[in-house]
């Protein structure tokens, strides 16, 4: 019998003028999996992200989520199907307090539907903030909150719609080791709390990533060059080559 993957990408291609940002990429993500997506600068990680979440339309290829084709759907419809994302550069609603930022996501059809019975929207927003450790700042306007906290806010906003697939775009970018450690722990805990939720993480900081994911996909110049367990990837010659350059005596 043909098994249905949570996310199934087949031959995805996107060109910007003469540049092929994503070239014939195929990948699968299973339910409850924690997957890392790495690659050097300009490898097409963010473009792939934008393709999967509908912010950019692909030139060719198919994206199937829970067996359903989602190519061409508007971003907000994809979120309501169960794929939530964060942004590499934080995008808070700066006029709104932290708690209201989360409530925007709870106001979306999927977010509103997922609020448990007898629970108010405020209550749920407060719970989400507690999960990522932002309770203290709940009423602070987002424009006064530091970058590290906004990174966590991005995660809380994405979690508000209770996605089946959570996509984090460089969640550790610009964080100090302490904050990285905290976020790593909360992502791991999040995964334990909701084991059926798949998480896809794009990251530069390989060290933090390799500790939490079970499988890594490596992109280079828009193409998938390797896939496997973190330990295997760390030893993979091709991967070392694209990260460190040629000449094995350095690596």
């Amino acid at each position: 019998m043909l098994t249905i993957h949570l996310l199934e990408v087949e031959g995805l291609t996107k060109r910007f003028g003469g540049l092929t940002a994503v070239n014939d990429v195929s990948l699968q993500i299973e339910e409850g999996e924690m997957v890392g997506l790495i690659g050097p600068n300009g490898a097409g990680k963010t473009t792939l992200f934008n393709l999967l979440t509908g912010f950019i339309k692909p030139d060719s290829g198919t994206i199937k989520f829970e067996g359903e084709d989602i190519v061409g759907l508007a971003p907000h419809n994809i979120v309501n199907k169960g794929i939530a994302r964060t942004f590499q550069v934080v995008r808070p609603f700066r006029h709104l307090p932290i708690i209201a930022n989360v409530m925007v996501a709870l106001k979306s059809p999927r977010g509103a539907q997922k609020i448990e019975w007898l629970k108010t929207m405020e209550r749920k927003a407060a719970d989400l903030l507690e999960d990522v450790g932002l309770s203290e700042l709940a009423l602070e306007p987002a424009e006064n909150v530091g970058h590290g906290d906004l990174k966590r806010l991005e995660v809380a906003k994405a979690l508000a719609t209770e996605p089946d697939l959570l996509m984090l775009d460089e969640p550790f970018g610009g964080l100090n080791p302490l904050e990285t450690d905290f976020l790593t722990k909360s992502i791991t805990r999040m995964h334990l709390d909701e084991p059926s939720r798949a998480i896809l993480i794009v990251e530069h900081k390989l060290y933090a990533l390799m500790k939490i994911v079970k499988r890594v996909i490596v992109l280079h110049q828009g193409e998938k060059i390797a896939e496997g367990k973190p330990e295997e990837i760390a030893k993979n010659k091709k991967v070392i080559e694209v990260y460190m350059g040629k000449g094995t005596h350095y690596a």
Binding site: H76, V79, T86, P92, F93, L96, N101, S135
Partner: protein, 367 residues
């Protein structure tokens, strides 16, 4: 402990999320307006206050669309004119009474808002401003167009509409109109205020702040933009209807840029994004326009400068200067400036009683 803190926090949630003026102040403001006619103001001056009420409704509705949703429209006169004209046409062809034509015109304006809003709201920022500016001008030309004279009445418009104040009977007509417009202003501003400060209002602000992030939160931004456009248009058309029946006539100047810019000037005077600000702005504008500025030529005459002939055309220039100075001096508007001062006083008192609140840090950074 954290849980209890958060619980306490969101119980007073709305008060923290939005710029809510001290309730006492809003109450005082309406109380003053309520007793204003008793101060023995002459009939001609009364009509200035009536227009202040009408344009306050208009400016408040503009503030919801622009100040809270961030969809810059410079053609809000569109719905103002549509409201007035549809009410007038309903009277002209079917002879319906005012209390039917006004609601019907408002319903019709929903349709127009949807028709115009759907294509217009696809563009953003300055382009949206330009498109919205063009639409009422096109309609204005259509209404002036010769072949349609028998329907829209060309430049003269439609005259002899039923008077608005037939609804209630107070000895003095002007005062009864004043109270009626004041009542409508109160009702519509409370409704808009409630909408803007609801959870839907949070989504409006999220669109103002970052459309892409709103989409990523699963919000159908087109739907919410249209919603804001329709609600705003509904009250703009109400203002148009009242204007038409107070003036007992409509003409194509209702679609003019001047009307659209009234909303902009009044909102900036009072404080954009406050919802209550435009009411204050409308009163400041009307008082300046009718009571203060006309004194200017008389004042200058003493110094043997005669500007009476050029004065009317120079009025808008003077207002632009005033707004420019205000925007630089008090970018958050007069109304917000006052409430900020009052809140600071309150907070200074709170500080003694209950210890610091987290808002304190926010306020300090602002300055």
């Amino acid at each position: 402990m954290v849980i209890s803190y958060v619980r306490r926090a969101y119980s007073s949630f709305a008060a923290h999320v939005f710029d809510i003026p001290p309730r006492l102040m809003a109450f005082m403001f309406f109380l003053i307006l309520l007793f204003l006619p008793l101060a023995g103001i002459s009939s001609s001056k009364m009509s200035v206050l009536i227009y202040a009420n009408i344009f306050a409704i208009f400016a408040v509705s503009w503030d919801l669309l622009v100040g809270r949703t961030g969809q810059i429209s410079l053609g809000h006169a569109l719905l103002f004119g549509i409201g007035g004209y549809s009410s007038a046409l309903l009277f002209k062809y079917y002879g319906l009474p005012t209390w039917i034509t006004i609601p019907a015109a408002m319903l019709f304006s929903i349709l127009v808002s949807l028709l115009i809003g759907f294509p217009c709201l696809r563009v953003k920022g300055p382009y949206l401003a330009l498109v919205t500016m063009a639409v009422p001008l096109i309609i204005q030309l259509t209404f002036k167009w010769g072949p349609l004279y028998s329907i829209f009445g060309g430049d003269t418009g439609i005259r002899d509409l039923p008077r608005f104040f037939d609804l209630i009977l107070i000895r003095e007509q002007r005062i009864s109109v004043y109270y009626l417009t004041l009542l409508l202003l109160f009702i519509s501003s409370v409704i808009i205020y409630k909408i803007a400060n609801s959870k839907t209002g949070i989504v409006f602000i999220s669109i103002l702040d970052d459309e892409v992030a709103s989409k990523a939160c699963g919000i159908n931004i087109t739907k919410y933009k249209l919603m804001s456009f329709v609600i705003s248009g509904l009250f703009a058309s109400l203002a148009g209807c009242i204007h038409a029946h107070v003036l007992e006539g409509v003409d194509p100047s209702m679609f003019s840029l001047t009307i659209s810019f009234f909303a902009v000037i009044m909102t900036f005077l009072g404080g954009i994004g406050t919802i209550y600000g435009p009411i204050v702005g409308s009163y400041i504008y009307s008082v300046l326009d009718s009571f203060v500025l006309p004194e200017l030529p008389k004042l200058l005459e003493r110094f043997n400068v005669d500007i009476t002939s050029a004065f009317e055309s120079a009025k808008l220039l003077i207002f632009t200067l005033i707004v420019l100075i205000l925007v630089i001096k008090w970018p958050r508007g007069v109304a917000r400036f006052t409430t900020d001062k009052l809140k600071d006083l309150e907070e200074a008192r709170d500080l003694d009683e209950r210890g610091p609140r987290i808002w304190k840090t926010y306020k300090k950074k602002k300055k």
